[in-house]
């Protein structure tokens, strides 16, 4: 096993152990069952979704506050538009070229759907289709920033992304 495989295994083990402890507490009995359940779940998760990209955990965690801030802004923005009598909307589409690998692209789409004013609606070729709630508000400016943040979490995309 190379270094990447170990990193992936470590991340998955960390995740499944944390979920197990949250679900069943720290009783001796629960931990005893977990000693079988956690490795089994880790094996299953690696089999169903092999780690293809190297996730940098601390960059992922560092991004978390800005993600929470963005989704807060997104919720406030959409609530304001929904409730104000004039209902200020100017819906439209943009197509953005995205150079992330598959998993990263889905993550980007999911994140954009929770950020203010943007909603990903799949890929056409290598371009991400993004619906905008207001084409005048400059929501699309956040897209390259989020893409860069996700690219930074996945080690090695620097080369694959190309020029």
């Amino acid at each position: 096993m190379d270094r990447q495989a170990w990193t992936t295994l470590f991340h998955r083990l960390l995740f499944t152990s944390a979920v197990w402890i949250v679900l069943s507490g720290t009783d001796a009995k629960a931990l005893a069952v977990g000693a079988f359940a956690v490795p089994a779940a880790t094996w299953l998760s690696l089999r169903l979704l092999p780690g293809r990209d190297r996730l940098v955990l601390w960059r992922f965690l560092r991004h978390f506050p800005s993600f929470v801030g963005g989704s807060l802004q997104g919720g406030v923005d959409v609530a304001r538009r929904a409730i104000s009598p004039g209902m200020p909307l100017l819906p439209g589409w943009v197509e953005v070229p995205v150079r992330l690998p598959d998993g990263g692209r889905v993550a980007l789409g999911a994140e954009l759907s929770l950020m203010p004013g943007t909603l990903a609606a799949g890929v056409r070729g290598d371009r991400l289709l993004v619906h905008l709630l207001d084409t005048d508000a400059g929501f699309e400016n956040a897209i390259p920033r989020e893409e860069a943040a996700i690219a930074a979490m996945i080690l090695g995309t620097g080369k694959e992304v190309g020029p």
Partner: protein, 94 residues
């Protein structure tokens, strides 16, 4: 004090749920409605979970509350993409 935090955060959460439903009813096209549903409702759930966390008796319950919220966020982010893509296909008559 804890009860006060619960009152405050659950009220905010309820507000976002109501706002999400209003947007879902009022917004003119399917994609805008999807915006309202994805963003407002999951924020509402987050605030409700935060409010209830102040009532929790152990750290495990707090963690469980945020696991539920995280799972819903993940599901909402993925689902909104899938539904949007399908709505696009429906609109294009496919």
């Amino acid at each position: 004090m804890n009860d006060l935090a619960t009152y405050a955060f659950t009220s905010i959460g309820l507000f976002f749920f109501v706002a999400g439903s209003v947007g879902f009813l009022r917004f003119p096209d399917v994609f805008s409605r999807l915006h309202a549903l994805t963003k407002a409702d999951n924020l509402g759930l987050g605030f409700i979970a935060l409010g209830i966390a102040f009532q929790a008796e152990s750290w495990r319950l707090v963690a469980l509350l945020f696991l539920i919220w995280g799972l819903m966020l993940l599901a909402a982010g993925t689902m909104s993409q899938l539904i949007a893509r399908d709505a696009l296909r429906e609109r294009d008559g496919r």
